[in-house]
Amino acid sequence: MSIKLLLAIPLILFFMYVLALPKYRLLGKLFILVFVAILLLFALNPDLSTVIANHFGVGRGADFLFYISHLVLFFIAFRFYLSNRNLEARLNRLVQQLALQDVEQRDGSG
């Protein structure tokens, strides 16, 4: 099996999986479709990435994609970090509210 198929099959499977998820709205699905289509294009036509890479002063297409994926992953990780912070803050508020409610009920009944 060639590397092209090895890359293309998981991409298509991933897209089908996302299509089946009720969570994503039409716009989200379209965005992912475009994203998968671009990746497929690169997977099936590796020379294309080299052409683009040369435009940015990078010799090899694979290197170019490697750098871009680093940027994207860093961005995603940072987004997760921020959302995690936000989630933690909300959890903490919840714990505080529960604690205060508990005291008030105790005081009320005692």
């Binding site: 921020l82 912070r85 803050a89 903490n92 714990v95 505080q96 604690a99 205060l100 008030e104």
Partner: protein, 225 residues
């Protein structure tokens, strides 16, 4: 005495010292509220034996959060003055009384304990340097000139307590508190206190390296609300 003064003691796994700390406080104060921040040791059991009011966080969420919970509660109970007091036995009750008198005498909103105006018994050189660095950082970011930035002993009146909304749940809250007092236009004074560094408080206190985390928390908290 001090009927409308509430002492807030945030406690997380302080089973070995909480009895002494609370008993010392009970000799002078009637309103002590311990915020048990999800302790997994016998802290809660000891507090029940002492008959002191306890507010319990179901899980551990940090000292800043515990302080805010205690302060909110004290305000609801009609407190006129609120004191934050560390559970690990590093503060002296006589300092609290002195600070309350200072609050009264100078008609200010906040009195902060300063170990560098007073004395820090048994402090290590590394810790002294780190705390000094924290002071410099805090002074630059908050634009308030203080001699001690991370002292857990604070006395505030009702007005000052009401303007607090601590969102830094970890240790970065010390700087955040000063900032919020300043932003709300509260008048702040420092008071020399003695901080006792025991083997226990040293082991229990912040790891020196944690200073880096605190710094990051503050920076990220500032830029990404």
């Amino acid at each position: 005495m001090f009927d409308d003064t509430y002492i807030i003691v945030p406690a997380y796994n302080e089973g070995t010292v909480i009895r002494t700390t609370v008993e010392e406080l009970q000799q002078s104060f009637s309103n002590i509220v311990v915020v048990n921040d999800g302790s997994s040791d016998n802290t809660l059991q000891i507090l029940r034996e002492l008959g002191v009011p306890v507010i319990t966080h179901l899980i551990n969420i940090g000292q800043g959060a515990a302080l805010q919970t205690g302060i909110t509660h004290a305000l609801r109970m009609g407190a006129a003055a609120i004191v934050s007091f560390d559970a690990d036995g590093q503060h002296r009750v006589s300092d609290v009384i002195g600070m309350l008198a200072e609050l009264d005498k100078h008609h200010c909103d906040v009195v902060l304990g300063s170990r560098f105006l007073g004395s820090a018994e048994g402090i290590s050189l590394i810790r002294r340097l780190l705390l000094k660095a924290a002071v410099i950082f805090s002074n630059i970011t908050t634009r308030i000139k203080l001699t001690d930035a991370h002292n857990g002993l604070r006395v505030m009146n009702r007005r000052a307590a009401a303007c607090l909304d601590i969102t830094q749940f970890g240790m970065a809250h010390a700087t955040e508190i000063i900032q919020q007092f300043h932003d709300a236009g509260m008048t702040i004074r420092e008071y020399p206190v003695t901080v006792r560094y025991t083997d226990y408080s040293r082991a229990k206190g912040q790891q020196s390296l944690n200073a880096i985390n605190v710094l990051l928390d503050l920076l990220i908290g500032r830029f990404f609300k």
